[in-house]
């Protein structure tokens, strides 16, 4: 049976402007999938741009080869990541001067 793990990296957290999730080690996993649930948006057209980042050491980061995802308004977006090496995080941006979102962010991993 393959090992798997789900981690809640942000829980009911209000985000605005630029942000990054905490580094998460996942070197044991072959595949990963992000779930970003926007529980509340300050306006229906508020966009969150979500870029997957990878790191060899948890300190230095670059964008992964998967395209940035965009969440608009409330709802959930999800995307897979493979060949990510050791560490994963999301670098994100809430678009708009007054834009804010309340999110729950899951990282799910599988051997």
């Amino acid at each position: 049976m393959r090992q798997s793990q789900a981690a809640v990296l942000e829980r009911y957290r209000v985000l605005e402007g630029e942000f990054a999730t905490e580094p998460y080690e996942a070197g044991w996993a072959t595949e990963a999938r992000w779930f970003v649930q926007v529980l509340r948006a300050s306006a229906p057209d508020v966009k969150v741009v979500l870029t997957t980042q990878v790191s060899p050491d948890g300190l230095h980061w670059c964008d992964a080869e998967c395209p940035p995802q965009v969440a608009e308004g409330e709802g959930m977006v999800s995307w897979p990541v493979r060949e990510f090496g050791q560490w994963l995080r999301i670098r994100g941006s809430v678009e708009g001067d007054e834009g804010s979102v309340k999110v729950q962010i899951y990282l799910t991993l599988k051997e």
């Binding site: 981690a7 809640v8 829980r11 230095h60």
Partner: protein
Amino acid sequence: MGNITDSELAGSLRRAVLDADPALSRYNPLSRILVFDQFNSGTHGWTELIGNHDGEGNLDTVDDHMRDFRPPQLSSCTFFDVGTHGAMTGTYALKVATRPLAGHTAVAIRRLTMAKKGLVQFETYFTYKAEAASEENGAAQQAGAGEWDGNIHPSEQQFGAFTVATDICDDRGVRYHCVARYQNTDLENRFTRRWMYPVVPEPTPREHLEGKAKLAATDDFTAPNPDDWRYFGEPQSFCYNEVPTKVNWHYLRWQLDTEKQRNVELQVNDRVYDMRDVPVPAYEERYDSLDNLLNFYVSTRTHTNVRNFLFLDSVLISVDW
């Protein structure tokens, strides 16, 4: 050869069997092994602690100080200077990591129950680290960072504290916490290197709901008032090994008595602390829905804006029932 009793023979045979297994031979379990968690093969039930939520699943109802204890990670102990260090057993250890925020606490918990009262023992091989500095995290400029003298590394003074603790409730609803905390530095980032215990029970979600407690996000959830902690034993130094990227594993053995609702003793490497006289305050109110609760948690708390990490190679919990 002198005569040996049946129980002495049984004890010797049991120890011989333990010693035949390299993984178990490094432990000293009581008569029944309840769990043996080698994190090279998964998280084994260690999960993030979170406060309670309402009937609608609204996590806004979770207490502010109990909603961000961070998910534990299976870590290969990989660092910027050498790459993968690895664990004591295989590649992976359980890592409990704080945010880079002074006062933030990360907590992983293991949930069990008691089939009988008696002795309970928690053993682990552990190590702890502050995060290495980078341009992005700015650790070298954060509180606690000092001069590098070629021996003591500035990051060592940026590690706050780690805690081993329980949440126990008997079959009559009497609930209490046995707690042992290693305080590496005080809240001003000065080395103290002392073991300590709280003299008050941990504030609970029910007490908050009843208006008796309201803590801020980075308050010390185990006992928020620094005056409610007492040192025990003499200062103890560990093998931090000079830099934040070298991992040396330390042995910890902590024994409790759930019949007496007391600690028994704490062994950490070459020191054994008698904890029989350490007070263990129970809640005045009785708790329902927690019959025979036996939870263990480990936590780490940073006293500066630098991530703190507690690594566990493996855990063995044993009982005398």
